[in-house]
């Protein structure tokens, strides 16, 4: 039994688990797959969007800066072409030119200088006292002498401040001379410094040697990768923009966007941490994952509760099914026993009838004169009476067997159970008195009529009452009979306080031919007949008992549903 139960528990456990898995699989998997696909697509397109945005930003600034340099160079070239060496050599004239430029552009041009072919500064206009400085050894001077114009890298020079130079070469009387302008570092730096995005996005310019041409917002080492890579591969993105993502020293992913300036001399670099650039994406991702997780959790909880409930129902249904099949077996057993019993009863009836008639015949004969005087007459009569009595007993047994086979008068009629019980109690009162048994009746009044066979119900009740009296015959006691309405059933209880029924016998008490009475006293059919009758009525009969605590038989009979009025 326990093993069976264990096996059942295992079955229900795996049923619950399978149901749970199926629900979760069907409900959660599509959600996760769809969410993943959407997230992936969103991630890709968002990356593309951010990259495109950064590329555009850098490209725009590349054009700005290139435009700025070109314009400043143009201004100086115009100055060189418009005025002669003689005019510009005049320092006050030169100062006037500088003031004019500063008036137009603001303090972008710091100073102007005119240098002769030997590198000697012939005139100077500006805030520094550079007078007749000699630039013959300066690199910019050497470079400027080689081409029509020249833009230097940022350097400290004689003044010890970061600046860069735009130089234009002209000639006067066959001798080359140079007009030089210094561009203010701060003004130039602003062009780049203004490129700011998010919390970590900033830009700066490097020259080919990897030296800063503007001041970066954050500290970094420009001679490392990926900056050197950009410089190395610069040919590949001559006019365009190059974008890569790399991890920096502290393990953060960083987006680098680079573009070439000044015909490939300078490199404009914009960089931003990926986490910063994609913060919106990350937030969306986090929200989505949180929602998916929450939904999954909800589904799991609901799936768990649902499958638990469902399996409980299944278990209940299984239990009911088991009980019903047990009942079917029980009923089948009783029916087949009943058929057998009916056959036997019929067979026995005839010989018993003959025996009784023969005894009667002897009695008839004993009435004749010849026998009147015989001394053994009374003994004959006693023996015949005994044959009759035993014959009647046989008849009773066969009648009971036949009742068991349900061939008694089973006409259905309206029966008031209280009346029936009271009649039977009255019949048994005499017997109870002799057995020293008190009868305690507690009937609920106004009970509805039930539709049953009166004879059968009588048989059941009489059987129960007789059994109770039998139990208490030796020591006396109290017989309690009660009726009550419980839902759709009328319940009649017959209780005794006799010696009770041992637990081992309780399970078999409704089995045919099971009896604890001495041989010859009981047929063992009474209760199984009761069982059959009550089951046929759609009711139930149960017993509660313990040794020395008496026994209570409880009969439940259904009330007919279509009854309009209570019985009167």
């Amino acid at each position: 039994m326990n093993q069976n139960k264990g096996m059942h528990n295992g079955y229900y456990y795996s049923l619950t688990r399978n149901m749970l898995l199926v629900i979760i699989l069907v409900a959660i998997m599509p959600m996760i797959v769809v969410s993943s696909i959407i997230l992936y697509e969103f991630d890709v397109s968002y990356h593309e969007k951010v990259h495109a945005h950064l590329e555009e930003l850098v490209l725009k600034h590349k054009h700005n800066i290139d435009g700025f340099l070109k314009q400043k160079l143009g201004d100086i070239r115009l100055l060189g072409k418009t005025f002669s060496y003689e005019e510009l050599k005049n320092e006050s004239f030169l100062r006037n030119r500088l003031e004019l430029l500063q008036e137009i552009y603001g303090p972008v041009f710091v100073d102007l200088g005119v240098i002769n072919a030997r590198g000697l500064q012939m005139a100077y206009a500006g805030p520094f006292k550079l007078g007749k400085a000699l630039y013959s050894n300066a690199r910019w001077f050497q470079m400027a002498m080689k081409s029509d114009y020249f833009k230097s890298d940022v350097f400290l020079g004689l003044r010890g401040l970061p600046h860069f130079i735009i130089a234009v070469r002209e000639s006067w009387n066959g001798e080359p001379w140079i007009l030089r302008a210094t561009v203010d570092f701060v003004a130039f730096n602003n062009l780049v410094e203004n490129i700011r995005l998010g919390e970590t996005g900033f830009a700066f310019i490097l020259n080919r040697k990897g030296e800063f041409q503007t001041k970066p917002l954050f500290d970094l080492i420009p001679t490392k990768e990926p900056y050197t890579d950009f410089l190395k591969d610069s040919k590949k993105f001559q006019d365009g923009v190059r974008i890569i993502e790399r991890e920096d020293d502290s393990g953060n992913k960083v987006i680098y966007v680079a573009a070439l300036l000044k015909h490939g001399d300078w490199l404009l670099v914009y960089q931003q941490r990926a986490s910063d650039a994609f913060s919106d994406l990350k937030r969306t991702l986090r929200t989505t994952i949180a929602i998916v997780l929450f939904a999954s959790l909800c589904i799991m909880v609901i799936a768990f509760i649902l499958s638990k409930r469902m399996v409980n129902r299944v278990a209940l249904a299984d239990q009911e099914k088991e009980m019903i099949s047990e009942q079917v077996i029980e009923t089948g057993k009783l029916a087949s026993v009943g058929e057998l019993a009916a056959g036997i009863a019929h067979e026995i009836n005839n010989p018993v009838a003959i025996m009784m008639e023969e005894a009667g015949w002897i009695e008839d004969l004993l009435e004749e004169e010849d026998f009147k005087e015989r001394e053994n007459l009374s003994e004959f009569k006693r023996a015949l009476e005994q044959i009759r009595t035993q014959g009647r007993r046989c008849k009773e047994i066969t009648h009971k067997l036949l009742s068991f086979a349900r061939k008694t008068d089973s006409r259905i009629q309206d029966v008031q159970i209280n009346d029936l019980v009271e009649e039977l109690i009255a019949l048994s009162a005499q017997r109870a008195k002799f057995a020293n048994v008190d009868i305690n009746i507690n009937l609920q009044r106004d009970l509805r009529m039930i539709k049953v066979s009166q004879a059968e119900l009588q048989q059941v009740m009489l059987n129960l009452i007789n059994n109770a009296l039998d139990e208490m015959e030796k020591s006396g006691g109290t017989l309690k009979v009660s009726s009550a309405l419980e839902g759709d059933y009328i319940v009649v209880e017959v209780a005794d306080n006799g010696p009770g029924i041992p637990e081992a016998n309780l399970a078999r008490i409704f089995d045919p031919f099971f009896t604890t009475k001495p041989v010859g006293k009981g047929t063992g059919l009474g209760l199984s007949i009761c069982y059959g009758i009550i089951k046929k009525m759609g009711g139930d009969i149960e017993v509660r008992s313990a040794v020395d605590a008496g026994a209570t038989f409880r009969v439940k009979i259904p009330i007919p549903e279509d009854e309009e009025q209570p019985g009167n």
């Binding site: 009863a345 009836n349 009838a353 009784m356 009742s403 061939k407």
Partner: protein
């Protein structure tokens, strides 16, 4: 009318039909002892043959016989001799058949095994009321 009154004074002639030979014989003896002329027969066929030769007042008919159904015998009796009363004997639990028999004109029925006195009483009632 006079003829029927004569019946009461004279011996009541009873045809006893039961395939249980031992039962039929002893019942015949006992009824004979009580002043009736009883002819026991043991099959339905025999009963139909016997009834042609005699003028019985009452037939006691077992409903359960091997060669013929008692109800069939009853039908034949009531058709040929409607004035003869028929008392049926049934086994316990076969009352349904007996009730059917009453519909076909039987006087009454008794459940086997029955008390002899009951049967005697029934026979007298049957002859008194006449059928």
């Amino acid at each position: 009318m006079a003829d029927r009154d004569n019946h009461r004074e004279k011996t009541i002639k009873v045809l006893l039909v039961d395939d249980e030979v031992g039962f039929a014989d002893i019942l015949a003896k006992r009824l004979g002892k009580r002043g009736m002329a009883v002819t026991p027969v043991y099959t339905g066929t025999e009963a139909i043959q016997t009834i042609r030769k005699n003028d019985f007042h009452v037939a006691v008919l077992d409903l359960k016989m091997e060669d013929m159904d008692g109800i069939e015998v009853l039908k034949i009796f009531k058709k040929a001799y409607p004035e003869m009363a028929v008392i049926m004997l049934t086994g316990h639990g076969s009352e349904q058949a007996a009730k059917e028999g009453i519909q076909y004109g039987a006087f009454d029925y008794l459940t086997k095994p029955c008390e002899l006195e009951d049967l005697v009483k029934k026979i007298h009632q049957a002859t008194h009321q006449g059928r």
